[in-house]
């Protein structure tokens, strides 16, 4: 059976992204980074949702579902109440790209305590704790991200 199958497979047309036009194959890319974070930065995820659990000295909801469209936070839902956060407060939340930039900025400032874990597959920062200075309170960055859904 194997001897027959192999020649048949070789007769099939090449795989393409456009099943209706096999004459113009699309260039596909695949990437698997040595660094998990590379997996996020090398794949242009601009539309996604994620669940955020954060600690901060702030009055805005700490456990939320964040929706990002075209790289911008467009909707934040308070998991406790099920209600959307007021639009003027959306700026209190960030997309993954901005969170990565904040991590880089914080690392540059030589924080007193630093713990960052990236999701090994998608590469987003799934656990972040940064204390810039032990001598200053309420300056910490402390959050978990989970349930990232690429749209």
């Amino acid at each position: 059976m194997r001897r027959i199958l192999l020649p048949l497979l070789l007769l099939l047309p090449p795989m393409s992204a456009d099943a209706n036009d096999t004459s113009k194959p699309v260039v596909m890319q695949a990437f698997q980074g040595l660094s998990a974070r590379d997996n996020w930065e090398r794949n242009p995820h601009e539309h996604y949702r994620y669940t955020l659990h954060r600690q901060c000295y702030c009055p805005t909801p700490k456990d939320v579902r964040v929706e990002v469209v075209a790289g911008q936070v467009t909707r934040v839902t308070d998991l406790a109440s099920g209600k959307d956060v007021a639009p003027r407060l959306l700026s209190a939340y960030a997309g993954i790209d901005e969170l990565l930039a904040r991590i880089d900025a914080a690392v540059q400032r030589r924080p007193d305590s630093l713990r960052i874990e990236y999701d090994r597959h998608l590469g987003y920062p799934k656990r972040v704790y940064i204390d810039p200075s032990y001598r200053v309170a309420d300056d910490e960055t402390d959050y978990r991200i989970e349930d990232v859904t690429i749209l």
Binding site: S91, S113, D138
Partner: protein, 303 residues
């Protein structure tokens, strides 16, 4: 200390005489009137503070000034008398820029903490941040000891075995971006309905951090397996140790107590939670935390 007792006695004298005596005492080196928190606005480069906001900040400081009785040595940089200068440089996070800031040859009067304050965008929706300052100093051993302990024997200059806390002061930054809708109350003695984030509550909280809650070595030294074990706090919490946040910076979220000087239940001011439209005054547990850090506390007075 005797000077302070003399002054307190003076307050009970005839008004005209006591005014003269107090005025004289205020001009004499080494004679202090009371524990004082002095705000310095030189780094409020974004002009967050106006007269009304300064007044609320003073109201928050007044609570601590009414309860803390420590006497602290003055820090007075200058000629040592031995052919070299005593130097003192206060180090803070600049409230206006967020960058490291040195204040060279800062003079700190006796019994006084100097707190640099200002506003800038803190990102996210964080309302404020604060804590004690750092420093560098050179000069005589006596001067170095004064800078590091301010005359309080329980302060370990190496920061290991501290049972007391006596900083020169520190810095507080308040958020000034659109994410925060502040409520500025021109009379903090009354409670009324409001919306927004209560500036007075946040000021109390951040001053609490400057005074060492969540930031002092003597605070850290009383945390065992995530539980604060200070005797005064345990007593204020019905004999039970108090859970802290994972980083030890606050009481755990939703820690309950009563407003200081009252029997009114309230969530502790020094837990990490604040809700829009809600005032959080300092509670008995918060005050006990100060006492466990090493501050000398006098009897209750309602806020």
């Amino acid at each position: 200390m005797s000077d302070l007792k003399d002054l307190r006695s003076a307050k009970r004298l005839q008004p005209a005489f006591s005014i003269v005596l107090l005025a004289c005492a205020g001009t004499l080196p080494g004679v202090a009137l009371a524990f004082n928190i002095s705000f310095d606005y030189r780094f409020d480069s974004n002009n967050f503070f106006d007269a009304a906001r300064k007044s609320i900040l003073d109201s928050a400081a007044a609570f601590f000034e009414s309860r803390i009785t420590d006497t602290l040595d003055a820090i007075e940089p200058g000629p040592s008398g031995f052919g070299f200068d005593n130097t003192f440089t206060a180090k803070i996070t600049n409230p206006g820029t967020g960058l490291a800031q040195d204040v060279v040859d800062l003079t700190v009067p006796a019994d006084t903490l100097i707190v640099f304050v200002g506003g800038r965008s803190l990102g996210g929706s964080t309302l404020g941040q604060g804590g004690p300052g750092a420093y560098s100093a050179s000069g005589t051993q006596t001067f170095i000891d004064t800078v590091s302990t301010r005359g309080e024997p329980g302060v370990d200059p190496n920061g290991i075995t501290d049972t007391d806390f006596a900083p020169w002061g520190g810095a507080i930054t308040f958020d000034n971006d659109a994410s925060t809708n502040w409520y500025f109350d021109n009379d903090t003695t009354t409670d009324e309905a409001f919306t927004g984030a209560d500036f007075y509550s946040v000021a109390l909280h951040e001053i609490g951090h400057v005074l060492g809650i969540g930031t002092a070595d003597s605070w850290d030294n009383k945390i065992v397996n995530g539980q604060f074990t200070g005797a005064a706090s345990v007593a204020a919490n019905g004999g039970n140790t108090i859970a802290t946040t994972a980083d030890g910076g606050h009481w755990a979220a939703n820690t309950q107590s009563v407003i200081a000087g009252t029997n009114t239940a309230q969530e502790a001011a020094m837990d990490p939670t604040i809700t829009l439209g809600t005032r959080k005054r300092f509670t008995e547990l918060d005050v006990a935390g100060l006492q466990d850090i090493g501050w000398e506390i006098q009897a209750d007075s309602a806020q």
